[in-house]
Each structure stands twice: as C-alpha cells, then as structure tokens.
Symmetry: C2
C-alpha cells in the first residue's frame, strides 16, 4: 500500500500553493508531478484531498478536490506548562511524544530555578508539525513563547488546574486520582504545571496554590522533567474515560 503524502498548510482552503518548506519536500524529496494527489491539513480540523496543478523547483501549486472535516480525537482542552530542560533534545522528544499522544496547548515556563530561559520556537514547531503529520492529526497544538511563572498563574484559565512538585511539607494528592474525580461541570479541560530540574521554588508552589492550582505529585517514581511532562499529558488523556464511567 502506498502511503499518502500529507502537508501542513495553514489556511489551506484560501491558498493555492504549498509553503516553501513543504514545497521543497514535495518537489525535491517526493518528486511530485502535475496530477499527483496530496493531502493537506490546515491544523484547525480539516483535511483536503488536492491535486498538483503546477510543479517547478520553487513552486508546488494545487487545487482542492475534496474537503474532509475531521472529528476531534478527544474532548476537552489539554494544556501542559513546563520549564524547559537544560538539554534541549529532551524537550524536543517530549514535544514529539505529547503531540502524538494528544495535546492542545503547550507553554514554556520561566521559573525561579529554570536552567534555560530561551527556546527556539521555530525548531519546536517543526517537530510538532512533523508529529502532527505522522500521527494524522487534523488539529495543530498551540505552542507559546516562554512565559514567566508569575504571568502564567495570573492568567485566567478554564477547567482544572494543577501544580506538580516534590515538596513533602506541602500536602499533595496524586494527579491521576484528582483527574479521575468527576467535576461539577464535567469539563475535560485541564492544565498541569511541571517545574525545572531543580523543581519549582516553594514560594512558587504557594503562589500557584493561592491562584487556585491544586498541589499534586505524579506517583511514587522519581521522574525526569520531560518524563513528568509526558506522564501528565498521558494522565490528562486517560482520566477522561474514567471520569465518564464514574
């Protein structure tokens, strides 16, 4: 079975040409010709079956043959806010994995003990686009610029809010148990904050709790930052079914 070719084209229905990156891939790597079929995804819920109408070294034009709106793969809004690790490759693979598993929004946090204050967003976006294509998702997660911890917790936010940390002197529940409790509005929206390698500061945890974040831990295992981020996303996704059953 030949694999179909997928391309990410924001505003695909309004465009007539692949963006430069995607054009390069279509023409130089896949060697697509006039008449070949391609699939476009606009990142906001639609696939399009399209046909190549012009293929030159710098242009790949298409016409849309069919619009294929997709159902959402999950309910509710999954938001991870995480302090990036010192080693960026660890964040990069986490981005790939959380995109595969399913995330709506990701924010990089600048915390008191952060070991990294700068993140190259274009590189992260490239990884996310590739994972979205590979896992055939019609929705593109939103990735935000680095945001200070204070700014983030002061922003209004829908749904359940949690801060995961390692301080035993602050009472903590187990995130997955908390997520499995049906909420009054039965909303599936959730946000989890994950700190840097050296954890949040105890002041930050207290500020978050004051701002309405529930203090949680991620279980008995000691996890690296990127594994904690991945676990949190997995828990946000898996708990939905459990809430509905209760």
């Amino acid at each position: 079975m030949r694999e179909a070719h997928y391309f990410y084209v924001p505003d695909a229905a309004q465009q007539r040409e692949l963006p430069a990156d995607e054009c390069q891939h279509a023409i130089r790597v896949l060697r697509l010709k006039v008449g070949n079929v391609l699939f476009l995804m606009d990142g906001v819920g639609n696939y399009y079956r399209a046909q190549v109408t012009e293929a030159s070294s710098h242009h790949c034009c298409y016409e849309i043959v069919e619009t294929l709106p997709q159902e959402r793969q999950w309910e509710g809004h999954v938001h991870l806010a995480i302090a990036p690790t010192k080693m960026m490759d660890r964040m990069e693979w986490m981005m790939e994995k959380v995109t595969e598993i399913g995330i709506d929004e990701l924010t990089f946090l600048d915390c008191q003990f952060s070991e990294r204050q700068v993140v190259k967003l274009p590189r992260i976006e490239k990884i996310v686009i590739s994972a979205v294509k590979q896992s055939r998702k019609a929705w593109m997660p939103v990735v935000h610029e680095m945001t200070t911890f204070k700014t983030f917790i002061s922003q209004p936010r829908e749904g359940r809010k949690y801060i995961a940390h390692c301080y035993e002197e602050i009472p903590r529940s187990y995130l997955f148990d908390e997520l499995c409790i049906p909420s009054p509005l039965n909303s599936h929206d959730a946000t989890v904050l994950i700190g840097p390698e050296g954890d949040f500061s105890i002041d930050e945890v207290r500020q978050a709790v004051e701002a309405g974040y529930i203090s949680v831990h991620l279980g008995k295992s000691r996890l690296r930052t990127e594994t904690a981020g991945l676990s949190a996303v997995m828990m946000m996704q898996l708990s939905k079914g459990e809430r509905v059953k209760k």
Copy 2:
C-alpha cells in the same frame, strides 16, 4: 544539597569492590577518596550505605555501613514485549522512559515484519542501569535477548495478556478499559505485545489470540512503535489504582 552517589552493584553485599565501569566513574569522574560515602543498589530490592576503603586508579573498594531494604514501588509484574524499531535511538529513549515509569521485564520480539533482528543488549543495559539509578529504583528490570514471536506466545505467562494491533477486521477493545476491569484473582501482572513499524502480521495476531492474548488498541491516536510501548507501560501502571477502586 549535595547529591548522594549511587552505584549499581549486583550482589553488593557479597562484593567488596565496585565493578570496572562503576569504579571508573567513582574514581575518574567523581574523584571519590577513602572515607567518602556511597550508596550501592543491588537491583533486587536493597540499597546499602557504604564507605570507600581503598581508592586507586583501577580499584574502588568499600565496606557496607548499613543495609537499607526498599519497599516495592508498585504491585504486580509489568512486562512489555516489543519489536525493536529500525532506528535504535528510539528504542533507547523508550527504555529510559519505561524504566523511569516502572517496568519489571522487557522482551525484544522478532516478528514477521520486523525491520531489526539484532539488538545490542549491553548498550540497552547501560541505559537501563543509568535510568534505574537516576530514578532511585531498588529493582532492576530484566531485559531479554531477541525472542521470536512464536516462541514468546508459546511460553507460559502469569496474569493478563494483550496484543495491540491496527487490524480493524479483528475485534479490539481499548487496552486501558481492559486493564481497569478487576480480574477474578485481582492480580496486577500484565503483559502487552507491541509490533514493529509495519505492525504484526494478521496471522501473528490470530496466533496470539489463540494463545490467550486479548486483542486491543491503544486509543484513537496513531502512535509510533516506541510511543505505543511507552503508552502500554503507562496504562499498565495507571490501571492498578483504578482496578482497586472498582
């Protein structure tokens, strides 16, 4: 706070010297001296507080000061059997992550559509040891040599057994739902089979079902092999609490 130094020493109580790899790290990297404190883990449930008694360029001898037996972090036996990916780095990070999250046994499967028949076990073991130390586990997961699919499914196995695949013509339940159903014996032992990039063959799935494996899928998202392995381990761990509550 200074981090304690952890070393993996099988049979630590019977030995008086760090193995070559660990010795190198202790002497050349950490520059430990006579009298320094170190922590040994034997991989079968014990930590030991020990003191350096001799430190030369090729030997690091110790004496045990205190034996610290550890409680198990989870109940039941978590076994993942997976066809290794073509790109070995993807398996390597999965090994690190499943070790952090918690696994007892891992088998590499040689399947009909496998793209890789050889795995360098010493390299994998090194990654597992490093993750065990980093996540402060007292038990070392058992990693098996490559095993043919046929041999694996014909071996007797305790607890729940599942095969994850993508064939829509074979009825499949959702792995996490299956795992959350309390079993008659309330055993927490589970084994999940994950196929190669091109999936198991349909014959393999049928053979596994005949051998008592339950046919499952991993949810609505299309996952890479290594993400599927990680998801399966996460589901085996998270479902335990849900079973107990029911």
